[in-house]
């Protein structure tokens, strides 16, 4: 049995979320603050013995903040288990409590925590006239946490994350429509009082950065003691009897030591001297109090580990932090093995950020090998390295959209072949694709090198600051990776940047063409055709997918860069490409000719001459705030990064103002005026259209105006 689904409704930073899990090892990927800890907390409220009590103490801070007014709303945490069988006696009690019966069999189990207004409030809500907002507001004013109840249900059939389902079960607060049915069967039956999930399953939560050394030293949390007790359940008294005897003998030997009995006499005498016979204690002895209780004696057992030198074993506190953690995790896993003996039929290990515990390589090996039957492992990470260890099908990505956390499964709805491709791609590039907020996909070195520089120079903001990851898919093909971005999968924007490869020379065959020209015309024609084919394939891939867009250079990146008005920048580096003065002169003439057939051919010749990547690096130093970014790149950028916040817009304008001032200090007056407008824009006093107009008036020559006009 394993957890197949977790649904969170109105819980902390989750409005509605569905997390899917597979048998075995599962990964939750998410940046800081994306809700990993809350997601685990939700699971723990249902399964962790140490936290279950908290389920009865939910309060207003546990409601999703995006709700605004929480009064009247429900918090629902729902776990679904699959791989269950009514024919396995060991599961019977569990399934009796929470198994969903479908037809003649139990096909899954559901266990839910529902925090909702009690029946009298629900009754009052149901009696409200439809649309009577005033009455609803008045009623909600009266509701307090004391009117809330926590119920645990099983056998539920509802898809709680579906807003329509929520409206039908809880109500529609906008339309003021509340269900008349106060006990809807879809939320399942209240679990029987005798049901105790912690008797049925094993659950361990390993917190990030927990102090394992301290846990080893604490008798309550020491996993070694748990193991010793768990191995056989109870201690064999017969086997322990001789030990008890030894301890008792030891105790009396200590008591009989000459020094000990001498001290006892001296104490007695001194008391009698001081207090007199009447007031002295009647008897007094010194006893050796070594416990003969097995439990207490076991506490003296300590684990010693030789870490580095083969012939030296040290205590846990001497181990490196990583070593101690490794031992700790291992003992936990062993605990699960023993629990199987004790008849828990499913075990769950939740590890928070294992990168905090152990070295990633060990971790990878550990998780790879940790395929104990009936043990499901769920861990969270923000390390790209660990995500490789996990199968893309076993990955959930948490993303934050404002204050709302969302969950995506990158492989939903893909066929096994597609999943295989992505898996191999992720394995190969060790990509941070899954961690990005938004993505620009490019296909060549030039784009990978130059686009970040262009954006930094022109907008004054780096891609990292915009939360955009630029990923060079090289020759993998866009579609194989781009399919990840989809309503069903990763709901983040992805913009593809590629070339249309339209020919920039006249392709009309001319009988006067030499063989070379004939050949290049033929080649250009073939490229153009292939480009069209690629474009239409990508267009259909993006069709109906709001997360995905494709943006094309009409010709190729270098050519479109020139066409955008940047021949001067290329001219400035000709000397880095050619050394022959004649060639330099010719090249410069070509570049400034204004004839695309000449300048385009020249820039490509230059790139080929030193290699496209190296050319891009040389060109990089010629990129200044004054270059023109080709329009398709701007479009791609702001398709990936959207919506653009006013703060970002203000930063861009601010940067451009500084650029202008640096170039020409005489413009200080305009700068100051513009700065005031910018501040007013920042405070919301004027809108973007106003500040854009002012910018155009103040600095009509700035590159940014044409770009701002498109935003």
């Amino acid at each position: 049995m394993h957890i197949s689904r977790l649904q969170l409704v109105n819980y902390r930073n989750f409005s509605r979320a569905t997390v899917k899990f597979q048998k075995g090892v599962n990964t939750i990927i998410g940046e800081n603050g994306s809700g990993k800890t809350n997601l685990f907390r939700a699971i723990r409220l249902l399964l962790d013995d140490n936290l279950m009590r908290m389920a009865y103490r939910l309060d207003e801070r546990d409601f999703h903040r995006g709700l605004g007014e929480w009064r009247g709303h429900w918090i629902i945490i729902s776990l679904e288990f699959t791989d269950v069988s009514q024919d396995e006696a060991i599961q019977s009690l569990f399934l009796h409590g929470v198994g969903n019966i479908a037809g003649a069999a139990v096909d899954r189990a559901t266990y839910n925590l529902v925090f909702r207004p009690n029946v009298s409030i629900r009754q009052k809500l149901s009696e409200l006239a439809a649309g009577d907002e005033t009455a609803l507001a008045a009623l909600r004013q009266e509701i307090s946490l004391a009117d809330y109840e926590t119920v645990f249900t099983g056998k539920s059939s509802a898809d709680f994350a579906d807003p329509a389902v929520y409206r039908s079960l809880v109500g529609d607060f906008e339309a003021v429509m509340f269900p008349n049915e106060l006990t809807p069967p879809e939320i399942g039956g209240i679990v029987p009082g005798m049901f105790s999930i912690s008797n049925e399953i094993g659950f361990t939560f390993i917190q990030a950065l927990r102090d394992v050394v301290a846990e080893f030293q604490n008798n309550r949390t020491n996993p070694l003691l748990t193991l010793l007790k768990g191995k056989s359940g109870e201690i064999d008294e017969a086997a322990f009897a001789p030990i008890t005897k030894l301890v008792l003998d030891l105790n009396s030997s200590i008591e009989e030591l000459d020094d000990v009995s001498a001290i006892r006499h001296d104490i007695r005498d001194t008391i009698t001297d001081a207090a007199g016979e009447t007031y002295s204690p009647k008897s007094l002895s010194i006893r050796s109090d070594l416990s003969d209780e097995p439990d207490r004696l076991f506490q003296s057992l300590k684990l010693f580990v030789g870490e580095a030198e083969a012939d030296y074993e040290g205590g846990i506190h001497e181990l490196s932090l990583g070593g101690a953690n490794l031992i700790y995790l291992t003992l936990k896993l062993l605990e699960f093995k023993y629990q199987k003996v004790k008849q828990t039929f499913a075990n769950f290990l939740i590890v928070e950020e294992p990168e905090a515990h152990i070295h990633t390589h060990i971790q990878k090996t550990l998780f790879d090998r940790m395929n104990y039957d009936e043990t499901q492992i769920i861990y969270s990470t923000h390390s790209t390295h660990i995500s490789e260890a996990s199968n893309v099908e076993n990955i959930n990505i948490l993303g934050r959209n404002g204050s709302v956390c969302e969950v995506y499964q990158p492989s939903t709805g893909l066929d096994p072949n597609e999943i295989g491709n992505i898996q191999r791609y992720l394995d190969a590039v060790r990509s941070n694709l899954l961690f990005a907020k938004s993505v620009l996909l490019v296909e060549g070195d030039a784009e990978e090198i130059l686009i970040p520089i262009l954006i930094k120079q022109v907008f004054g903001i780096s891609l990292d600051e915009l939360g955009v990851s630029l990923i060079n898919i090289r020759s993998t093909g866009f579609s194989n990776v781009a399919i990840l971005f989809h309503d069903q999968r990763i709901r983040k924007n992805c913009a593809i940047i590629t070339d249309l490869d339209k020919a920039f020379i006249d392709l009309t065959p001319d009988p006067l063409d030499g063989d070379d020209l004939k050949k290049s015309k033929k080649r250009a024609f073939a490229s153009q055709k292939a480009g069209q084919g690629r474009a239409s394939a990508l267009a259909s891939l993006c069709q109906g997918n709001n997360w995905l867009s494709a943006h094309f250079a009409d010709h190729t990146f270098e050519v479109d860069f020139i066409l955008a008005g940047n021949s001067a920048a290329v001219v400035s580096i000709v000397g880095d490409v050619y050394s022959d003065p004649a060639t330099i002169t010719l090249a410069k003439a070509d570049l400034v000719s204004g004839d695309i057939a000449r300048s385009g051919t020249r820039v490509l010749t230059m790139a080929r001459h030193v290699g496209k990547g190296w050319f891009a690096i040389i060109l990089g130093k010629a990129i200044t705030p004054e270059v023109y970014i080709p329009g398709y790149i701007v479009k791609a950028l702001f398709n990936a990064h959207r919506p653009i916040s006013d703060e970002i817009l203000a930063c861009i304008i601010d940067y451009r103002l500084k650029v202008q001032l640096e170039a020409n200090d005489a413009l200080r007056a305009q700068f100051e005026t513009m700065h005031i407008y910018l501040e007013r824009f920042r405070t919301g006093d004027i809108d973007f259209a106003d500040v854009r107009d002012e910018m155009l008036t103040a600095f009509p020559g700035d590159r940014i105006n044409t770009i701002l006009a498109t935003l």
Binding site: A89, I101, A104, E149, G189
Partner: protein
């Protein structure tokens, strides 16, 4: 493994509990049936291999369940994996509540109404549409295929129409009564096979006490569960076909072959036929009404006691009370039997009520107890009844285990009502209860005052929980009604708090009871009256001889030492015809003694 002392059980009892397979045990009165059952449960509990398994025992009453559980705990066996209770509790806890969402009539939640409520509903319907029907005409029970109305043939169509209305009303209110608990449980078991499969693998053994009073539908439910377990769960069926006195409610003694067919379980048939309770003379008397082939022998300490067995068919009904007073005095004052060992048995409630009234006045020096003297509704599922048990009893070592369990039941009921019980433990609940007193002498007022002091002390405002409010109203109203009725019958002391406390007191005073009410009990002296054809057996019974024999068998076998039977003269039926002594009793030739 659980081991017992050599003299705890006799050879037959040991043979029964040591059977590895399923057992079908016929046990004569006083044969240690409950003891055998108790030891069998203790043994089964000690043999459990995992904490996923349960031992399930079905008893006829809550009291029997409590007593057996206590005895097992006293034997030092952990009862954590034992479920024991009535068939109705079983159906509620194991079938209806967990699987309600799979039944169209239960999926939106349901409430259980008690016998008092359903009687009241019948009454109201009778008044409205009944055409002369009374609530006692509405008796009915469900079978696996339908339902049976117990009243006389000619009333049946009318009662049927009335029941249809009644069920409609309940459905509209999302309520079910005790009979419907069984009907719906049976429907769920039949329609959703997974339930039996799951339960069948949780239970290692299902023990049934008093099988002779079990209904077909109950056999159906248990049979389906046993069958689904494919031999994994065993059965231990105990009872006495001779004591099957609940035929009018649908109870009957199934044969082992029939139950085998129903459950797929192969039974070993065994008998317990040694009576350890009564004198030989008593045994030889009730043997006259034994309808089985078995031969009962007296083996107990009282075996050779010189019993007095008298039969009086000449006393007039007007002199009946005086005669019973004489018999009571004879047994207590002459023979030296303690009052708590004397029981007065009559066939019907109205006769007993007037008898109680007279006896209380005629014998002021003795106290009387029994079901008829309870001032409030004994509705085990009512929250306030559960709480009253704790309030009305004192903290004492003898009652410690029992009150502790009752406290657990109160907390479970709080949970069911939706109250957050995180901060309440059994101990804290008992502590709060022990600290609350009231000086009011009126029992109900006293109880209400304690209720209203206790819940706030626990930090609970019961008025915000619908279930608690409903139960509160039901408890107070039905108790008041009972008190009024008993006071009208002349039992003045009934409203007194002392009477309330006596209900949960360990047995004291002379017991007054119906024949059905003394089931399972034993007394040194039993005085039975109203042994009249039409009452014993009831005029509705089809097989009069069998019905009368079973009742006489039950009456006779309650007595350890002395037995006094009275068929008083001068009682009139509703016409003008006089009641005559029970035919079956007259037909029995026995040399009776005279009481002088």
């Amino acid at each position: 493994m659980f081991v017992w002392n050599a003299d705890d059980l006799d050879a037959d009892q040991v043979e029964a509990i040591k059977q590895p397979g399923s057992v079908f045990l016929s046990a004569c009165p006083g044969s240690g049936k409950t003891r055998t059952l108790t030891y069998k449960i203790a043994l089964e509990l000690s043999l459990l291999t995992t904490d996923k398994q349960r031992v399930v025992a079905i008893t006829y009453t809550h009291r029997a369940a409590d007593e057996i559980r206590e005895r097992i705990e006293q034997l030092g066996v952990d009862t954590g994996q034992l479920w024991i209770g009535t068939i109705h509790s079983f159906c509620l806890e194991w079938i209806l509540r967990p699987y309600a969402i799979y039944h169209p009539a239960l999926k939106n939640g349901f409430g259980v109404i008690n016998a008092h409520d359903s009687e009241r509903a019948h009454e109201a319907l009778c008044l409205q549409h009944g055409g002369g029907l009374r609530s006692f005409d509405c008796g009915h029970y469900f079978t696996p295929t339908g339902y049976v109305i117990s009243c006389a043939d000619w009333k049946r169509p009318k009662v049927d129409a009335l029941l249809q209305r009644y069920w409609q009303e309940l459905r509209a209110n999302r309520q079910i009564d005790f009979e419907m608990i069984l009907a719906y449980a049976h429907q769920l078991i039949s329609d959703v096979p997974s339930i039996s499969i799951l339960l069948g693998s949780i239970f290692t053994i299902v023990l049934v006490d008093e099988f002779q009073d079990t209904k077909e539908i109950q056999y159906g439910i248990l049979g389906a569960i046993l069958k689904a377990s494919k031999g994994q769960a065993r059965a231990f069926i105990v009872g006495d076909p001779n004591q099957a006195i609940y035929g009018s409610l649908g109870g009957y003694a199934i044969t082992s072959a029939e139950l085998s067919r129903l459950s797929g379980v192969a039974f070993k048939e065994l008998n317990l036929s040694k009576n350890y309770r009564s004198a030989d003379r008593i045994v030889s008397f009730f043997e006259n009404f034994n309808q089985l082939a078995s031969n009962i022998t007296a083996e107990g300490e009282l075996k050779d006691f010189a019993s007095v067995i008298s039969y009086d068919c000449s006393t007039n009904r007007n002199a009946l009370e005086a005669e019973i007073v004489r018999l009571i005095r004879y047994n207590i004052e002459m023979v030296g039997i303690p009052p708590s060992e004397v029981c007065i048995v009559g066939p019907q409630w109205p006769l007993l009520a007037s008898m109680t009234r007279h006896l209380v006045t005629a014998l002021p020096e003795y106290s009387f107890s029994g079901p008829g003297m309870v001032p409030f509704a004994r509705d085990i599922d009512n929250f306030w009844y559960k709480l009253a048990r704790i309030i009305l009893t004192e903290a004492s070592p003898q009652l410690y285990i029992r009150r502790n369990r009752w406290a657990g039941e109160v907390i479970a009921a709080f949970d069911l009502a939706g109250v957050n019980t995180d901060a309440i433990t059994r101990k804290s609940l008992l502590r709060v209860s022990n600290g609350i007193t009231s000086n009011v002498t009126d029992g109900l007022a006293n109880l209400v005052e304690c209720f209203n002091a206790m819940l706030p002390a626990l930090g609970i405002d019961y008025t915000t929980y619908p279930m608690l409010t409903e139960h509160y109203d039901a408890f107070v109203e039905s108790s008041q009604k009972r008190i009024d009725r008993l006071t009208a019958d002349g039992v003045d002391a009934i409203a007194d708090i002392a009477t309330f406390r006596k209900v949960f007191d360990l047995k004291s005073g002379i017991t007054v009871s119906t024949i059905h009410g003394v089931k399972g009990a034993e007394f040194e002296a039993v005085i039975a009256f109203g042994l009249l054809e039409g009452m014993v057996p009831h005029f509705n019974e089809s097989d009069k001889v069998a019905a009368a024999s079973k009742l006489l068998y039950v009456i006779g076998s309650r007595a350890k030492k002395n037995l006094h039977l009275i068929s008083e003269t001068g009682r009139r039926r509703r016409g003008s015809e006089l009641y005559m002594p029970t035919d079956t009793l007259l037909a029995c030739s026995f040399t009776y003694d005279l009481v002088t």
